[in-house]
Symmetry: C2
Subunit: 215 residues, 2 copies
C-alpha cells in the first residue's frame, strides 16, 4: 500500500491538488520529519511556502538540521491547520475539524536565480507586500541562507469538516453538540523599541489587521 493512502477514515482523504495548495499557501509553518544522525526520528517546525509544484523551506547555513535536510535525506513535511473543535455529545465522538497534509520526498538545495526566486516566494508568503517595503537581500545574506525545494509529487491530504456524529442514545440526551471554529488573527502590532520616530505602520502589516485577513 502506498504511504500516501489514508487507511483510517479514508472518506476524509481529498485528492484535489487545489485544496493542498490552499492549505500550504495559508500555512506559515510546516513540521519537517527526518531521521537524525543517530537514526532517531526528528521533527522540527519551520517556515513554509509554495512555488508552483514545490514546497519551499529555508534556514541558516549554520543550522545543522537544515544542512542535513539539504543533503537530500528522505523527509516528510507535514502542514496542518486546526480549524475547530468538534464538540459531540460524548467524548468518543468529539474531535477536531482540521486539514492535514503530508508531502514525502527529498529536498534539493536551490542556487542562483532559483534561490533568489525561492526566497522571494517565502517572503511573499510570510508577509504579503513586505518585499516592496524593504531592500533586497545582500549577497552575504544570500550566502548564509539555505533555500530548499521539495517536489509536490507524493502527497496526501485529509480534511475533517464534519458535524458531530453521535449515536441514537446520545442524540436523545441533553448534551449540546456543535462545532467551535478556531481562528488565528493578528493582534496589535508592537513597534520595536529602537524604531526611529515618525515611521508609520507599513501597508503589509496593516493588511494583516483587516477583519477577515488570514491570521
Amino acid at each position: 500500500m502506498p504511504r500516501t493512502a489514508v487507511t483510517r477514515l479514508p472518506e476524509r482523504q481529498r485528492v484535489e491538488r487545489a485544496l493542498l495548495d490552499a492549505l500550504i499557501d495559508t500555512a506559515r509553518v510546516a513540521h519537517v520529519g527526518f531521521s537524525g544522525e543517530d537514526g532517531h526520528p526528528v521533527v522540527l517546525p519551520t517556515a513554509v511556502a509554495r512555488d508552483a509544484d514545490v514546497v519551499l523551506l529555508h534556514g541558516s547555513t549554520g543550522s545543522r538540521w537544515m544542512r542535513r535536510v539539504a543533503g537530500g535525506v528522505p523527509v516528510c513535511v507535514a502542514i496542518s491547520a486546526l480549524d475547530g473543535l468538534v464538540v459531540a455529545r460524548c467524548a468518543f465522538e468529539s474531535s477536531f475539524a482540521y486539514r492535514s497534509a503530508v508531502v514525502f520526498g527529498s529536498c534539493t538545495r536551490l542556487e542562483g536565480a532559483a534561490k533568489a526566486r525561492g526566497l522571494d516566494c517565502l517572503v511573499d508568503a510570510l508577509l504579503p507586500g513586505r518585499r516592496d517595503e524593504i531592500r533586497p537581500p545582500s549577497p552575504a545574506e544570500l550566502r548564509r541562507t539555505l533555500v530548499l525545494a521539495l517536489p509536490i509529487a507524493e502527497w496526501s491530504l485529509k480534511v475533517a469538516d464534519q458535524w458531530p456524529e453521535d449515536g441514537p442514545g446520545d442524540l436523545a440526551g441533553d448534551a449540546w453538540a456543535g462545532v467551535v471554529p478556531l481562528v488565528t488573527a493578528a493582534g496589535t502590532p508592537l513597534a520595536s523599541p529602537d524604531l526611529r520616530a515618525g515611521i508609520p505602520l507599513p501597508d503589509s502589516v496593516r493588511a494583516l489587521l483587516r477583519p477577515g485577513a488570514p491570521g
Copy 2:
C-alpha cells in the same frame, strides 16, 4: 552531542521544565514523527495533553500509524506555538516569535485505570469542563481507543521572543520594525443541525468565548 542540544542559536534554548509544561498544556496538537514501515520518515498531527511527567496521545485502535507508535518505535513529538511575526527592516532578520519543543522517546500503551485517567486528562485538556457535561466513556469506546504515554525525560525547548535585530544600516533607514502577535481564538459556536431544541450552549464552550481565553 545529545540530540536535545540546541546547536543553532543556543541562546534560545530554555531548560525550565515549567515552560515546557505550559507549552504542552496550552497546545491542542502535537506532530508525531516516526519511521514508517518502509523506513521513510512520517509526521502526523494528533491531539496532545500532559499528565505530570508524560505526554499523552490517543487514537483509534483502527489507526495503523497509532498502532505502530503504540508498539514502541522511537518517536519525536513536536509541540509548537507560533506566537507572532518578527518584522525586521530586512527579510534576512525577519522571523517568527515561537515556542518549539521536542520530546524524544518511545510510547507505552496505557491500560485499565491508567488508560481511563489518561483519557480524562485528554478530554480535560482539549475542552476544560466538558467532562462534567457528558457521560463517561463506555467499555466499548474504551476498547476502541488507544491511549499512549511518552515520558517527558529527553526533551528540548526553544523560545524566540526577541525584537528584530537589524544592523546599523537598516536601523538608520525608513523601514518599520516590530512584532505582530498572532492570537488564536474561538469563533461563534455552530450548533449541530440535529441538536434538539432548547439545549443551551454549555459552560465549557462558553468559557472558550471569554475574552483572553486560551484559543
